[in-house]
Amino acid sequence: MNLTDKEVRYVADLANLRLSDEEVRRMSEDLGQILTHIEQLNELDTTEVEPMAQVLFGEDEIATLREDVPRRPLGNEDALANAAASSAGYFTVPKVIER
């Protein structure tokens, strides 16, 4: 099974990855090889089998919700400390909205 360059570029766009032409070519081969191997899952009859999103434990063992009690937030300064670019308490990014 091989992915075409066009399919690779489409997926790269979905993933927001810039790939060089050489990377696209390599990716097409590598992904093709892996996807071919993965086809073996079709050997298995999984009708009636529940999909498993994660390891499930009983209610006594985990609880996904906690009490709605506010906690101290990280704070603006700490949150912006690793910003690539920031200004006036915000992360700044290239213009999104065209005038």
Binding site: N16, M27, M52, R66, A83
Partner: protein, 481 residues
């Protein structure tokens, strides 16, 4: 004051005695281990960052507590290394990636917090495969880690740096992470103990997410007891991680000292079929030793083993593609500019991520994309149920599953890097543990004819780390020279 023991032979109990008898202080020990670690690092590249200030501050606190007769913790003065996918407040955390090479976390992972609360001394952050994706530590943006037992070979991955540090003696214990085998396999390759606890046993808060339903934090040590001490300190419910379990944490030290006579051990035929003699002979000798200790052996089947690799590489990459979407040039330091926002995202991620990370993000994006979701992702989730059922069925008959960790010992650096699928096949025996969430560990059980370490894998029921440690400890003690 001089440290009387050789640094690589230090254990938690030797340190406890050394501090109690005032042979040395925690500050002496921290200085000595830091100096040793720094001098050895050129050979293995195990560490990416040393934390002198933090270590000496923690050591001073331990010394002050001891001096005033206060209890200083179960890990007082113990030098520990932390894999660089685990955040440490104020201490650079790179995840082995260029995209985070300047990232300074504003918080500590819960596991880090708990270790320091028990007096542990963090001496540095260890090298790893980028974002924990790899089986050889060759995918780090900061150079590969070399196996201290054979410098032309890989230490295993992705927690290669942590395994190497413990094997080399530049840390007494270390934290690693395991998503597909990243603790057990490097433990096996480097000849140290590596523990992957039950999913949810240790909080993932502060573990940079790779695959959230598969990620675990766990300890490396040079002996079973030390690995249990570390797990004891970090295990238990954390409100910051809703997937962490309320299940009480057993007293591992007490329970592991019980004899193993009468325990039923399952040997899964799928893990031994086609296993080369180089590894097979050593693992079989270990199994015979367990039998000599009174364990009963039984052949079992985990019939869906051969599908685990495909299942894992769909689920893990799908989850990774989602988790790594956040590295987009906005909040986490690195940015490569672009005219539009979209260009900026694509340039940043195209430049900042290495080849393996990109490969996995691409695969994950593909299997989740419209038209493919059912065929791949949903199918893989169903297969995961089948893999997990294999384990619960097996545990109706046996108390533990014994198997090799890896089909082969440490391979040469560069041997598999150009063949992604061949690299992925290194993990065939470890992936199933992550998919099913059962606790597993690797304990050293011998060497190949070339002198390369080989580990024995022990897996038990969910939350039954006590039996797992019991088997490992009894085995280890019975072969101690």
């Amino acid at each position: 004051m001089q440290i009387p023991e050789s640094i690589p032979s230090l254990t938690i109990s030797l340190i406890r005695d050394g501090l109690a008898s005032k042979a040395y202080t925690a500050t002496d020990l921290a200085n000595a281990v830091l100096a040793f670690a720094q001098s050895e690092n050129a050979a293995t590249n195990a560490y990416l960052t040393f934390s002198l200030e933090r270590a000496l501050k923690a050591a001073a606190k331990v010394d002050a507590q001891i001096a005033s007769g206060r209890y200083a913790g179960t890990l007082a003065g113990v030098p520990i290394a932390v894999k660089d996918v685990i955040v440490t407040k104020g201490l650079r955390t790179t995840c082995g990636s260029h995209i985070l090479q300047d990232y300074i976390p504003p918080y500590d992972a819960t596991a880090v917090f708990r270790l320091e609360a028990e007096g542990a001394i963090i001496i540095g952050k260890t090298n790893c495969d980028e974002f924990a994706m790899g089986s050889s530590n060759e995918n780090s943006a900061f150079g590969p880690v070399r196996n201290p037992k054979a410098l032309d070979r890989v230490p295993g991955g992705s927690s290669g740096g942590s395994a190497a540090a413990v094997a080399q003696g530049t840390a007494v214990v270390a934290l690693g992470s395991d998503t597909g085998g990243s603790i057990r396999q490097p433990a096996s390759f480097c000849g140290v103990v590596g523990v992957t606890p039950t999913y949810g046993r240790v909080s993932r808060y502060g573990l940079t997410a790779f695959a959230s339903s598969l990620d675990h934090i766990g300890p490396f040590a040079r002996n079973v007891e030390d690995s249990a001490t570390v797990l004891q300190a970090i295990a238990g419910r954390d409100d910051f991680d809703s997937t962490s379990a309320f299940t009480p944490v057993d007293d591992y030290h007490a329970l592991m000292k019980h004899p193993v006579r009468g325990l039923k051990l399952g040997l899964p035929r799928e893990y031994f079929e086609g296993l080369g003699a180089e590894t097979g002979d050593v693992v079989h000798a270990a199994i015979q030793q367990l039998q000599a200790l009174g364990c009963e052996l039984q052949e079992i089947s985990l019939p869906h083993t051969k599908y685990a690799l495909s299942c894992y590489y769909i689920i893990a990459t799908a989850e990774a593609s989602s988790n790594l979407a956040r590295y987009d040039g906005v909040r986490y330091t690195t940015r490569n500019d672009g005219e539009t926002l979209s260009d900026m995202y694509r340039n940043t991620r195209g430049c900042g991520f290495g080849a393996e990370v990109k490969r996995r993000i691409m695969l994950g994006t593909y299997v989740l994309s419209a038209g493919y979701y059912e065929a791949y992702y949903r199918k893989a989730q169903q297969v995961r149920t089948l893999v997990t059922r294999d384990f619960s069925n097996a545990f109706e008959e046996v108390d533990a599953i014994i198997a090799p960790v890896s089909p082969f010992p440490a391979f040469k650096i560069g041997a598999k890097i150009d063949d992604p699928l061949a690299m992925y096949l290194s993990d065939v025996y470890t992936l199933t543990g992550d998919l099913s969430g059962v606790p597993c560990m690797s304990v050293p059980c011998g060497e190949s004819r070339e002198g390369l370490p080989i580990g024995l894998q022990i897996s038990t029921r969910h939350f039954d780390e006590a039996t797992m440690f019991r088997l490992a400890y009894n085995y280890e003690q019975s072969i101690a020279r």
